[in-house]
Every structure is written in structure tokens, then in C-alpha cells.
């Protein structure tokens, strides 16, 4: 199973600055929470195009913090939206929320390390 966050990769991206990495993850958590709520609304409205854009943005943000699990699920939602298969997206959104909560939990212990 993939990492919740690949810390090694994240620190490499931040040129070894843990301070910058923590700041970015904090922004990501706030942004991802809002995006998942937005994606639920877009799904309800069957706004396929915007759902694709929104999941793409979440995937990008997750890639930036090396949040592999969120990234992979967001990518799946992006592809499903692109082909118009909205039926399984509610389950994926729940998985997304769960993966995001895992990041929130894990990040607290990482901060202390």
C-alpha cells in the first residue's frame, strides 16, 4: 500500500526545510477540506467538467506534498469525471476524506519528531 505522505520526497522538494514542509502541509489540509466539500456539491449538480478540474487541482496539491494516497484517489476521481462515470465517485470521495484525515493524524506526530 502506498504511503500517506512520502516524507523523504517532500523534504527533498523543500530542499530539506522541515519548516517549509510543515507550512505547505498546513495549507494543503485547509485547501483539501474545502475542495472535498466543493467536489460533493459539484457531484450533486452533476457538473462533470468542474469536478474534473477540482479533482485535478486536489491531485496536484497532493502531489506537491507527496501525499500519495490522496493523490491516487483524486486522480481516479479526475479520470471518472473525464469519462462521465459518476456512479462510483461518492465512494471515492469518502475514501478521499478518510485519507485526508489520516494525513491530519500523521502530521501531528511528524511535527513532534
Amino acid at each position: 500500500m502506498e504511503n500517506i505522505i512520502n516524507y523523504e520526497e517532500l523534504l527533498l522538494r523543500c530542499q530539506c526545510s522541515k519548516e517549509i514542509a510543515e507550512e505547505i502541509i498546513a495549507i494543503f489540509i485547509k485547501d483539501a477540506d474545502a475542495r472535498i466539500i466543493e467536489m460533493r456539491t459539484l457531484l450533486q449538480n452533476k457538473n462533470q467538467k468542474q469536478l474534473e478540474i477540482c479533482s485535478h487541482a486536489l491531485r496536484g496539491a497532493a502531489s506537491t506534498i507527496s501525499g500519495e494516497r490522496v493523490k491516487n484517489i483524486a486522480w481516479e476521481v479526475e479520470n471518472l469525471s473525464h469519462i462521465g462515470d459518476l456512479s462510483v465517485i461518492p465512494d471515492r470521495l469518502n475514501e478521499l476524506q478518510f485519507a485526508l484525515n489520516q494525513i491530519k493524524e500523521e502530521i501531528n506526530s511528524w511535527r513532534k519528531s
Binding site: 522538494r13 523543500c14 505547505i24 495549507i27 487541482a57 491531485r59 496539491a61 502531489s63 506537491t64 506534498i65
Partner: protein, 341 residues
């Protein structure tokens, strides 16, 4: 050293924040915006050196923004690096065809991004310098044409002046005029040398009455140049450059000056004693100009000081004495020159 300014446009707040922090850490000034709506305004009001533009954005996407920027700025004026998570060839080709200078992929590796940014800034800088040097080349070729155009009438003037000199001996106005023309000729010569162009410029030798009589020997020339170089009260370096072929012409000019200005100091003194300041001004001014033209620096300096005082109306006795002494020194030097020549 001034920092280069990067405009980062990305709707993704995480990427925008990370780009800002990392690029600042790597020595840039960063302006970050999360939509392209204010980008054109920023490009006008701020000095932006390079743009990092995300492709996939809601409302106006990166390709549309790129097209808008390219209407005003070309790839040299403003390098744009597109940031994309789509790595397939067709997307990249489309991006580059739309006017992007380059692309980097998401998630961004900031060390690579920084190196690419530096490369594009360097290319832009060199392109600016190349354009500037082409501009200079055009200016140089224009100056070269003007130089040639000026040289022809100048040569004619100098020829005619030589004839006038023979007819009217050594009139001071002719000497002044000749000196002025040689100075113009000298300037043209220097400009031609600077631009490395070949010009057939006249030399005093072409017109010198002295040289038309007998040719000066090398030892005579060296001896005369040595005397002229150390002549008290004179600085003849510039004139010796002009008359290097036959310095006897310069001696003629200096002797002519002595003859035609023999009484000028007495005239100035009398005009001042009679409080005829207007006449004094004219005479001093004339002496100032002529002495400067023949390299009589001591006399020129004294005449300049008196000229200034005449303008303010406060004439010092010392200035008149200095003028007399300078006049005496110059006359003694020319006498010496005549005896040696």
C-alpha cells in the same frame, strides 16, 4: 545585485505557496497570484523578469493567459515557463507552440526549476545585449557616413585657407580659422580611428607653406618638436599631433600670433585705464580664444580670469599683472623659438 522578479500564477494554493517560498529561498523576488485576472495589470505596473504559469486553471486557463501575454510581450521581452502535470508529448508541443519558452512538470523540483529560470533569464539578457549592439552598429555606420561627408568640404576649406594665407600673410583671423578647422579634422580622425574606418584625411603637410619650400629633415623635426614640447607657457601636445609631419607650420602660427598681438596687452591696459570696459571685454575675450587655440595655456588662463572679472565688473590689479607676466613669458618663448628655428 538586484534580484530577478518572478510572477507565479497558479490557482492551487499549495503549489503557489510552495513556489513562492522555494523561489524566494533560491534568491528571487516572487509575486504570486492565484488567477490570471490581474496578471496583465501586474506586468505593466511591476518589473517582471519571468513568468511561471500553471496550465490547468478554472475560468481562464494557462494557454489562454499565455496567448494574452504574447500579444504584448514576445519570448525575449518576457520569458514564460509553463507548469504542467500533463506530461504527454502532444500537450507539451501545444504549450511550446503557443509561445511558451519552456515547461516544467508538477510536482515541481525547485532546484531544476531554478536552473531553468536562470537559463531563460540569461538568454533574455544576451538577446537584449545583442539587439543593443546591432543598434550601436547602425549608429556607428551612420557616423562613419557623416564623417566622410564632412571630410570632403573640410579638405576644400583647408585648401582655400592655405591660398588665403599666402595672399594675406598671417592675419590672426585666418590663423584662428585654420586652427579651428584642424581641430575639426582632428576630431574626424579620432572618430575614424575609434570606429576603425579607413579615411583619407588631410594633414597640415598637404597645405603647409613651409613644407612647400623645403622638406624638413628628420633630425630638424625631432629638434623642433623637442623645443615645442618644452616651450615655457605653452601646452602644444594637441597641436603637435596635428602638425607632426612638419612642425614648422606650427612655428609660423606662433610667430604670426606674436606679430598680430604685439600691442594687445597695451590696448587692454589703456582701455581699462580709460574705463572703456566694452572694448576691454572684446580684446580680452579675443585674446582668451586665440591664446587657447595656439596652446598658450598660461596666457589663456590669465585672460580667462580677467574675462570673468570683466563680466562681474570687479577687476583685480593682480589679474592685470598676471596677464602682463603671461604675455611676457609667451613672447620670450616665441623669441626663443625664432632663434632656434
Amino acid at each position: 545585485m538586484t534580484k530577478n522578479t518572478i510572477l507565479v500564477i497558479d490557482d492551487n494554493l499549495v503549489d503557489l505557496k510552495l513556489s513562492t517560498l522555494m523561489l524566494e529561498k533560491n534568491g528571487f523576488t516572487v509575486i504570486g497570484i492565484n488567477s490570471s485576472s490581474t496578471c496583465m495589470e501586474l506586468l505593466i505596473t511591476k518589473k517582471i523578469d519571468i513568468v511561471l504559469l500553471d496550465i490547468m486553471m478554472p475560468e481562464e486557463d494557462g494557454i489562454q493567459t499565455l496567448a494574452k501575454i504574447r500579444e504584448k510581450y514576445n519570448q525575449i521581452e518576457l520569458p514564460i515557463i509553463m507548469v504542467t502535470s500533463k506530461t504527454d508529448a502532444s500537450n507539451i508541443i501545444n504549450t511550446l507552440q503557443s509561445g511558451a519558452n519552456d515547461y516544467i512538470t508538477k510536482p515541481v523540483h525547485y532546484e531544476i526549476a531554478t536552473r531553468r529560470i536562470h537559463t531563460h533569464l540569461m538568454v533574455a539578457k544576451l538577446s537584449h545585449e545583442l539587439a543593443k549592439s546591432k543598434e550601436l552598429e547602425t549608429i556607428n555606420s551612420a557616423i562613419s557616413i557623416y564623417n566622410h561627408e564632412l571630410n570632403n568640404p573640410l579638405t576644400i576649406c583647408l585648401g582655400k585657407l592655405s591660398t588665403l594665407k599666402r595672399k594675406h600673410s598671417l592675419e590672426p583671423e585666418i590663423i584662428d580659422l585654420e586652427n579651428a578647422l584642424w581641430r575639426i579634422s582632428e576630431t574626424l580622425k579620432k572618430t575614424a580611428q575609434f570606429l576603425e574606418i579607413d579615411m583619407n584625411l588631410a594633414t597640415p603637410n598637404d597645405f603647409s607653406s613651409a613644407s612647400s619650400i623645403t622638406k624638413i629633415s628628420k633630425s630638424q623635426k625631432i629638434k623642433l618638436i623637442n623645443i615645442l614640447q618644452t616651450l615655457n607657457g605653452f601646452d602644444l601636445k594637441e597641436l603637435l599631433d596635428v602638425f607632426e609631419e612638419d612642425p614648422r607650420a606650427l612655428v609660423e602660427i606662433l610667430v604670426g600670433f606674436q606679430i598680430h598681438h604685439a600691442n594687445i596687452f597695451i590696448e587692454i591696459k589703456i582701455s581699462l585705464e580709460e574705463n572703456n570696459l566694452e572694448l576691454a571685454k572684446i580684446l580680452v575675450h579675443k585674446l582668451k580664444g586665440t591664446s587657447r587655440n595656439i596652446g598658450a595655456v598660461l596666457l589663456s588662463k590669465a585672460a580667462t580670469a580677467l574675462d570673468q572679472e570683466l563680466k562681474t565688473g570687479q577687476i583685480e590689479k593682480n589679474s592685470i599683472n598676471a596677464l602682463r607676466e603671461a604675455f611676457q613669458t609667451i613672447n620670450e618663448s616665441i623669441d626663443l623659438l625664432k632663434s632656434e628655428n
